[in-house]
């Protein structure tokens, strides 16, 4: 794990977090930490909030649908980047998964208040750049960017 402060034009912070699939009890723990880090870096509150929502949705997807995942946070002077890679069942039809309301959630996921088919659309809504690739039976990779020096409606 590399953890460096962002204090110059070339400097950046990179931090990696592990997410355990199926661990509903600790789900959201990584996102809470990421939110604290972004706040401590002095990033504008609206961007911190958008980033936290994106992180939480991405983390919940790993908890719900994968065996294990790695969440890499990178902050540069220009942007916040998330790379969320999991080992899991993958997504057979990404276009369908991106539709609001489409969900393959189990009753356990719904009892936790998740699995309403809003996760990926909500990530896209709050991100400035969003890429998703997936291989059935292997896993899913999300790359998300939020720009620090621009204005986007909430």
């Amino acid at each position: 794990m590399i953890n460096q402060p962002v204090n110059g034009p070339e400097s950046r912070l990179v931090q990696s977090f592990s997410i355990q699939g199926g661990d509903f009890h600790h789900a959201g723990h990584v996102s809470t930490q990421i939110k604290e880090i972004l706040k401590e870096l002095g990033i504008e509150p609206n961007l911190v909030r958008r980033a936290a929502i994106v992180a939480y949705e991405a983390e919940m997807n790993v908890v719900m649908y994968a065996r294990h995942g790695t969440f890499i946070l990178e902050v540069t002077p220009a942007e916040i980047r998330f790379q969320v890679e999991d080992e899991g069942q993958g997504i057979p039809d990404i276009e369908l998964a991106m539709q609001e309301g489409y969900s393959t959630a189990t009753p356990e996921m719904r009892e936790m208040g998740f699995g309403a088919g809003m996760g990926l659309p909500n990530i896209k809504k709050n991100a400035d750049c969003f890429q998703i690739t997936s291989e059935v039976g292997k896993g899913t990779l999300l790359r998300i960017t939020i720009f620090l020096n621009q204005k986007k409606a909430q």
């Binding site: 509903f24 009890h25 789900a27 959201g28 996102s31 809470t32 939110k35 509150p45 909030r49 936290a52 929502i53 939480y56 949705e57 936790m112 208040g113 998740f114 699995g115 309403a116 088919g117 809003m118 996760g119 659309p121 909500n122 809504k125």
Partner: protein, 120 residues
């Protein structure tokens, strides 16, 4: 509307956060679906929910809700309360059903996070 008025109106119990009762709440969002709360929630709102897992507190923290009102007498466990303390999110619990709680609050002028008029 102050949190204290919400407490009085709904005969709610303060689970934690007595010192936040003079805080002003201007809007609310009611749902048991945290996915919807993440999609629709706004900073400073009151989260009204029947979901008393620790995820309700985590979601409130992520979207920066000002307080959580649990309906039907529900309360989070000690872990949820501890997280709410750490994050400074007051917790209330009312015996009213969600529909009743929302109706009373809306009737007193507490707006929705998505404020739209209907044809009457």
């Amino acid at each position: 509307m102050k949190l204290a008025e919400i407490k009085e109106l709904l005969r709610a119990e303060i689970i934690w956060g007595e010192e936040y009762l003079d805080h002003e709440i201007n809007m609310a969002c009611a749902s048991d679906l945290m996915s919807d709360v993440l999609a629709l929630g706004k900073p400073g709102m009151l989260l009204i929910t029947g979901l008393a897992t620790v995820q309700s507190v985590r979601t409130a923290d992520i979207i920066e809700a000002k307080a959580i009102l649990y309906v039907r007498g529900k309360k989070p466990d000690q872990e949820g309360i501890a997280l709410a303390r750490k994050k400074g999110i007051p917790l209330l619990s009312t015996e009213f059903l969600m529909y009743q709680a929302c109706g009373f609050l809306f009737g007193r002028g507490l707006k929705s996070v998505k404020d739209e008029e209907v044809d009457r």
